[in-house]
Amino acid sequence: MAIVPSVRVQADDFNPEAEIKKLTAGRSDVGGVVTFTGYCRDEGGRLEALELEHFPGMAEAEIGRIAQEAANRWPLTGLSVIHRFGKIRPGEQIVFVAAASSHRRAAFEASDFLMDFLKTRAPFWKKEHLKEGGTGSWVEAKSADDADAARWQ
């Protein structure tokens, strides 16, 4: 039976190690855990911060749907997703995915899949705050992200 993923959408920072522990503590059936942590870059020094707007309620629901699809598709023993919103500065964590499985390929594929669909389906939008010139523009969606997501069909 597919596991029930853990999904959190929050303004606060998070601790990857604590999340990994939740998937492995007291267990001896987990063969591997793959994590992805996404960070705010300063874009060559241009950026003071990213402002992440989200659609409360739908963000949790949509990530939940994507995570459940991953849990149905791969034999996972655990799956956690965290996505932050609000103002995030360069070097800070934005997003986290951890997939645990007894099979390493399942853990890699599930976390890769999750990130591709978070990028294209989770209702979040990034606005740039610049070091010089105040509020910049909204980050544009990349066609490369659509291409990445299309790999799984």
């Binding site: 659609f55 963000a59 939008w125 969606a141």
Partner: protein
Amino acid sequence: MKIRYFAWVREKVGVEEETLELPADVTTVKDLIAHLKTLDDNHALALADEEVIRVALDQMHVEPHEPLGNTQEVALFPPMTGG
């Protein structure tokens, strides 16, 4: 019907949300967008490039041909850039 806007669609429309009475012939997402564009310049500008506007009915992504049905809340927004 409650309409919500996000990101630059919200900025261009100028409100976060609004509740509208829709004409009877507005039955699909595509009809709704066409109707909203007639309201004023802000709506027309925000929704000018229909190709890039994404739509959720009651927090579920849908395509433009989708009927509105019993939807309580429609959200309109640009392509997502999370992750």
